[in-house]
């Protein structure tokens, strides 16, 4: 029993970061599952993070309430970004979103009254693992419902073949706009979760490292089902800690190699609904269907 308590005490932070990264990865998944490869999540996270930090600093809000504000702020930012970005062709959008990550850092550095500028901001409250878990459970439920509703079905169609989807009366713009809103809200919450877990945020908190973590978690875990990004986030968070324990000398190299091997062996990620469907295709019995 004591071993379990010790284990929990030691690795609760790893679990907390796994939960935090799950939000970030789900935000990335939200747009990816509608056919948009975008790094804008980093900006939404920055908006959410600094909004939450300011709200907590000024009004001493409990973390979960601050998460709500962060989600709304992220959603609003996403609406603005979506209007600009959805005019772009896919490949340009990927590049533009990467540029937005770089711009975000410059903006954060140059608005010290909002973000603390080069000094960063202290966040006086720490979110508990239980609160993070609850918030993620609610978010995951939202994704579960989306997956099994008309939105989930048509967003998959848009992702696989947007022009075919459009000739079936599906507005790709509308679907991807909704995807951006969800990405913004979840990304904002993720940014707030990161802020209240680190308790210190600065321009570098929301920069390229986060972009890479997010996209790697999502694709590693599997970008064809909402559960994939969560699995990927935990794997990608635990990887450095594990590698440090196993191969401290070359931990980063080992981390890269593991990522490489998984991607080459399982390019669709660890969680792949297609495998299940293939198995169902072969079995004669009819299978479960998404319900309403």
């Amino acid at each position: 029993m004591e071993a379990i308590l010790d284990f929990w005490a030691a690795y609760s932070a790893t679990i907390a970061f796994g939960l935090v990264n799950s939000f970030i990865a789900l935000s990335c998944y939200a747009v990816l599952s509608a056919g948009v490869l975008s790094f804008t999540t980093v900006m939404f996270a920055a908006v959410g993070g600094f909004v939450a930090a300011q709200m907590i600093g000024m009004f001493a809000l409990p973390p979960l309430v601050a998460f709500l504000f962060a989600g709304v702020a992220g959603g609003v930012a996403a609406a603005v970004i979506a209007v600009i970005f959805l005019r772009l062709e896919t490949h340009w959008m990927a590049l533009a979103s990467l540029a937005l990550v770089l711009i975000t850092r410059v903006v954060v550095l140059n608005t010290p009254t909002l973000t603390g500028g080069v000094q960063g901001m202290l966040v006086p409250v720490r979110v508990s693992v239980l609160e993070l878990f609850l918030a993620l459970a609610v978010t995951a439920f939202v994704f579960y419902r989306m997956h099994n509703s008309w939105y989930g079905l048509v967003s998959r169609a848009v992702r696989e073949d947007p022009s075919v989807a459009s000739t079936m009366g599906i507005s790709t713009y509308r679907v991807q706009f909704i995807a951006f809103l969800i990405s913004g809200a979840v990304g904002g919450i993720g940014g707030a979760a990161l802020a209240t877990t680190l308790q210190f945020i600065s321009a570098d908190t929301y920069f390229l490292a986060l972009a890479f973590t997010m996209i790697a978690s999502t694709v590693l875990g599997g970008s064809f089902h909402w559960f994939g990004p969560i699995v990927g986030a935990f794997v990608f968070t635990a990887l450095p800690t594990t590698m440090q324990a196993v191969l401290p000398e070359i931990q980063d190299v080992a981390k890269g190699v593991v990522l490489l091997v998984i991607m080459i062996l399982l390019p669709r990620g660890l969680v792949d609904p297609r495998v299940l469907k293939l198995r169902l295709s072969r079995s004669p019995k009819t299978a479960e269907q998404p319900d309403a």
Binding site: F17, L109, T197, L198, Q244
Partner: protein, 384 residues
């Protein structure tokens, strides 16, 4: 089905492995042995300095154990977790140390954001944390968070006062790192000294910590025709700016900070940084206290190179903890250790010929104004 059992077995094995890892880290230490956790920067963007801090800490541990500096029959053991200067990884490492009841104290942090992120964990877990690199006003918190690095500025101010009085420059240009608050503060302090002495500020040129090309800033600075150029930037930009200025043919005086003091920097830049004054408190060849001599010899013997300011700070941090350990009456606990450390007003074993501590914050030790000479050694700077 086969697949499922396979997955389960794998999961069980992983879980078992994880627990045993956790277990092994918790192996009860020998009687009288206590663990100190270091959250290092052995990899990542600041690894060059990070390795130095870590080596200084390692040497301190050896010295303490060999001489019983932490008390009769008390030995210290350093547990290492690398953060790669990543805040999230540092927080995870700190939480793991906090959970490990054999860890009595921790030391870490080159950059302020990470120090800021770790200090609440230290406070919440009653775990002493000694900061050895990051500086910021108000970072120490009674009684758990302390710092062995003096707040920046005063050393450069001292140096600037001397430069201003000896050289009497008319026109001074300043370079600073616009995205680093510490160096911005240093530049401001230095500028105030020169302006007080009647020197005109001809240029204030801001660069960024990640910049590599300084031809533009160098041309700009030289265009203003300064007598003295003060380079108050982080390490890479400082070396880059000085190189660019010298390559463009600037022959006036350049002053900078201790960032160019590591021997590796001289090895890299050679004659380009010769004769450039900077201020510091520890330097092999000049620091001649018995502690410093022993440390320098041991460092050279072990790592085959000279120590630098960073290794000196890592060394001081561990000795600070050891001094606290020694003062404890009875079985050491985190709380007792923190209490004793907070009471300390002067670190006995230091490399500076005296190191005062006020409320957990180290004060400026003796300051040396030095430069690299043409023999590749650091010598006291003289106005030529």
């Amino acid at each position: 089905m086969i697949m499922k059992t396979g997955t389960m077995r794998l999961g069980a094995a992983l879980a078992a492995a994880a627990f045993s890892l956790a277990g092994s880290a918790w192996a009860d230490p020998a009687p009288g042995q206590y663990n100190i956790g270091i959250i290092s920067d052995d990899t990542g963007p600041l690894a060059a300095a990070g390795i130095s801090y870590h080596r200084g800490a390692d040497l301190a541990i050896e010295e303490i154990n060999a001489n019983g500096f932490a008390g009769e029959g008390v030995t210290l053991n350093l547990l290492v977790k690398d953060s790669a200067t990543d805040a999230a990884r540092a927080v995870q490492a700190m939480t793991q140390f906090a959970a490990d009841r054999t860890v009595l104290a921790t030391t870490c942090c080159i950059i302020t954001p990470i120090a800021g992120a770790l200090s609440p964990i230290a406070m919440n877990n009653n775990l002493p944390l000694v900061i050895y690199g990051a500086t910021r006003e108000g970072l120490p918190q009674e009684p758990y968070v302390t710092s062995v690095v003096a707040l920046p500025g005063p050393q450069e101010v001292m140096m600037s006062e001397r430069l201003a009085s000896e050289l009497k420059p008319k026109r001074v240009a300043y370079y600073t790192t616009g995205d680093n608050d510490i160096f911005l503060a240093r530049a401001h302090a230095v500028k105030a000294v020169f302006e007080e002495a009647g020197a005109e500020t001809v240029a204030e040129i801001s660069t960024l910590a990640n910049d590599t090309d300084f031809t533009g800033p160098a041309t700009q600075g030289m265009g203003t025709n300064p007598d003295v150029i003060m380079v108050m930037t982080t390490q890479q930009p400082a070396v880059g700016i000085i190189s660019a200025l010298r390559q463009r043919g600037y022959e006036g005086l350049i002053g900078t900070s201790e960032v160019i003091s590591p021997p590796a920097i001289y090895q890299k830049s050679g004659d380009l940084i010769e004769g450039i004054p900077f201020a510091l408190s520890f330097q092999p060849g000049l620091s001649d206290s018995p502690e410093a001599t022993t440390f320098i010899e041991a460092y050279q013997a072990k790592y085959n190179e000279l120590p630098d300011v960073y290794s000196a700070q890592g060394y001081t941090a561990i000795h600070y903890i050891a001094q606290g350990m020694k003062a404890i009456d009875g079985e050491p606990t985190r709380e007792k250790l923190a209490e004793e450390m907070w009471k300390i007003t002067s670190i006995d074993h230091n490399l500076y010929g005296g190191q005062e501590i006020v409320n957990g914050q180290a004060q400026i030790p003796e300051t040396l104004i030095v430069n690299w000479n043409s023999d590749g050694e650091v010598a006291l700077w003289e106005n030529q």
